[in-house]
Symmetry: C2
Subunit: 514 residues, 2 copies
């Protein structure tokens, strides 16, 4: 056995059996180990951001990590944007990065770089293996770190000689991650009293508070106490649809978020952190907590939010699982194609158990408003704001849940950053339907330019926010990557093509011209 084989064994022993890989020369012993040690499924991405985003999507759906395999500093660098999103999602993920042999680093070969400096900003845990003998233990530590609440990105750098050097047949180490903390009885008591005795309490749900059990408990609390329910703006994962409590999504722009929270005298945090503005604007505060509003923490992202919510509901004597009022499914739209008809079509047609990966940016608002009426489904959002997350995350979610249809609701500008993911969907025959919201603009930047006081954008500002000419031909791009696609220009066409696409195994793409 060599160091590389000991690493793969440690991964398998901890239950990691999917590796999203884009390896190079310094990872060859690990590639060989994937054959020498049976049990790991290697999935090739043609760009590292596909691998890191797929590992994020996989983790959000499974709750357990996949590993990546990346090539030195530049390979890691290409994966960092989606690692940033994964870290903000608290998605457990083990990032394995090769490096030059330890004795080769000193000569500063062309591919040498400071990998630790690159990894640290987007990782919760970083280590470089020192010898083949430590590799298995390092990997076990990395996995435990990734799984420790609230979940995070662990990056293990493994020099090539630590991969190829022999280690003998030692036992495979397994480490237990820390457990999720439980909110203590006094916190439960205090929050229950607060809810009983106070009006104008607003609860902000995040993290696992947005899973089905968390939402049910939150709905019981709201029914018993009258508190308002909000969700984070960009949840890592939220369960939605008919019969599931639907908290109000905290708006994106700070003035709208502050408006939404107006009147809250207590903001109760359940799996969420105190809300802050996505960007700073002149004259606007960074904090979205209204002045004079008191913050009460029921459970942080690292705690067992669901248990805390259930304990509070019980303490309030709340009735079990209030029945959600039925919401009418939108009619299948006809006529003009716009964000509203796009949203109606998807909400009306998406199958039960769909996984909707939402990187729709400015085109998705109407869909998000209608989605609570759709059949029960999971929705994964762009947690960290690093665009190019949607197609890779959809890819990983489809690997994690082969029996569920994945729908990527995807802005066109953002899709361009990691379009290579479509190729992996084709190679692996994944059940992913991609809806490209083709407005051919960086629309959000046009809005932001207006907010920044640019009245009429000049030719340079216009050139940097308009994606045509040339128009991006998404059907051609998809075909080039092995995915069948169609372009639709009316709502009627969208309905018929979407219905067909959702019922067709394997990946497909619809360019929705908005």
């Amino acid at each position: 056995m060599n160091g590389a084989e000991s690493l793969i064994r440690a991964a398998l022993a901890a239950g990691i059996d999917v590796c999203f890989a884009n390896p190079g020369t310094t990872e060859m012993p690990l590639v060989a180990a994937l054959d020498a040690v049976p049990g790991m499924r290697a999935v090739l991405g043609l760009f590292e951001g596909v691998c890191s985003g797929a590992a994020d999507g996989y983790a959000r759906m499974r709750g357990t990590p996949a590993m990546t395999l990346l090539h030195l500093g530049p390979g890691l660098a290409n994966g960092l944007a989606n690692l940033h999103n994964a870290r903000r999602a608290h998605a457990p993920l083990v990032n394995v990065v090769g490096d030059h042999a330890t004795w080769h680093r000193a000569v500063d070969a062309p591919l040498t770089s400071d990998i630790v400096s690159l990894a640290t900003p987007m990782s919760d845990w970083v280590r470089t293996s020192r010898s083949a003998a430590t590799v298995a233990g390092d990997m076990a530590d990395a996995i435990a770190a990734a799984l420790s609440p609230p979940g995070g990105v662990a990056t293990l750098i493994v020099p090539a000689d630590c991969q190829w050097d022999p280690v003998g047949d030692t036992a495979t180490p397994v480490r237990s991650p820390a457990a999720r903390g439980r909110s203590d009885g006094s916190t439960i008591e205090r929050v229950a009293r607060l809810l009983r005795d106070t009006v104008d309490v607003t609860m902000l749900l995040g993290g696992h508070g947005l899973d089905r059990a968390g939402l049910t408990a939150a709905a019981r609390i709201a029914a018993a106490s009258g508190c308002k329910l909000f969700s984070e703006t960009f949840p890592a994962r939220i369960e939605r649809g008919a019969g599931i409590a639907a908290p109000v999504r905290l708006p994106y722009f700070p003035e709208q978020a502050l408006q939404a929270l107006t009147g809250a005298r207590t903001l109760l945090l359940a799996g969420a952190t105190a809300p802050v503005a996505f960007f700073g604007y002149p004259g606007m505060p960074s904090s979205l907590v209204p002045e004079g509003c008191h913050i009460e923490v029921l459970a942080g992202p690292e705690a067992d939010v669901t248990a805390a919510l259930e304990a509070v509901a019980d303490a309030l004597g709340a009735a079990p699982a209030p029945r959600e009022a039925p919401r009418p499914l939108p009619a299948r739209p006809s006529g003009k194609l716009d964000p509203a008809s796009l949203g109606a079509a998807l909400a009306a047609l998406q199958p039960e158990g769909a996984i909707v990966v939402d990187e729709s940016a400015t085109s998705g608002g109407p869909y998000l408003a209608m989605a609570p009426a759709a059949p029960p489904h999971s929705c994964l959002a762009l947690t960290g704001g690093a665009i190019g997350q949607g197609l890779p995350t959809a890819t990983g979610a489809a690997i994690a849940c082969p029996d569920r249809r994945v729908v990527a609701l995807q802005a066109d500008g953002s899709a361009m950053y990691t379009l290579q993911a479509l190729w992996t969907q084709a190679r692996e025959s994944l059940n992913v339907t991609t809806l490209i919201c083709a407005n051919r603009l960086y629309r959000i930047l046009q809005i932001e330019a207006k907010r920044a006081g640019v009245g009429t954008p000049g030719p340079q500002a216009r050139g940097l926010t308009v994606l045509s000419p040339p128009p991006i031909g998404w059907v051609d791009l998809a075909r080039g990557l092995g995915v069948p696609g169609v372009r639709v220009e009316t709502a009627d066409d969208l309905v018929s093509q979407l219905e067909r696409a959702l019922a067709t195994p394997g990946p497909n793409l619809i360019e929705v011209v908005l």
Copy 2:
């Protein structure tokens, strides 16, 4: 005037008039400044690696920097791989990265990250502006740092409030970069004596030693002294073709490089550093300097190599500009399409003054051997080993030299990392012909796996090195990005299509099925 406008003015005052941009919300004041302050050409890339690679190609051809404009940590991260190549090329480049307003960083908004930690490994100079008042001076310092020998990557991080805050109408600062060092008289004397008195001297040329004047002086020295001439394996830029001295390219694999240098008793460095293996292999040394070989430095990459070479040639009393023996142009190939016929077709057809961007990996060897017979041209190589350099660098070279035809000789696997560059070529109507070497393999990894002792690759190793199924349809991908393309499967078709493509204005692509 605000900080953003003062930055653009400082750039223009130093001669920077091209900005390769992929901005976001935190860069909006800089985008507005591109209209408010006339003179800067903004070129949109749909992925940040396109911007950084284009700035690299621009700098290699112009010798002066372009600027980039990137969006916070994740945007910078997407540009790092090509910044790594630019740094290894000593290409002067000013990287401008926006950040949250200074007062917004503390709240750890979703897009917050440690930008300095990300930037440092791939930059020669990093600074974060502290207020709008310092921005213009910071930019002037960044430009001077980028231009100081040997040339490098300067990264300036500009928080949003430092962009939008007013600065008044202050004078625009300009800083002088350091001058290239001159080798002193005693070094020239010592090297001349060495060349006169010693046999078995091998000169390794790099950096500006590979420009036309440097190569001419080196050829004079070789003719007068009998020394051998080698070039770096991956030059940032080398002039090649009929009438130009053609040093031997130092081979890529270490055993071949050591073999090539066997018998050298002195290795004379002219613009190059002492050669090291690209990767470390078990049982192979990191250094490629043969045992017992003495190293003599005529001029480092930061020095005026050409002046040093000319001084040595004069000290030797070498005759001016030896006539290069004419090399027969390869015949236009016919029949089977393979790396040899591809190389012959390109060498036979490329026009005088072409710029060949070489990211051909395993498919380009025959071309590189034949290129000295082609009409005079410039060749830009993959300096840092971070693949995905070719298409962006070709884009930037075409912006720098609109009157020259750019040819991207491009491996298919590597092209996938930054294919978005084709869109920028289409939008800007750039004269770039891309030849995709479509072997549908990560062929280099198959070679490396064999070198690593993997006899017959197992299914996992095979799956990670074979790019089909599905085959990547490059003609479809190009069409989707606005670039006309054709697929060729015989040498005859390649010849006729390449001849046509090279004579057609604007970008085009040929998928060469190998």
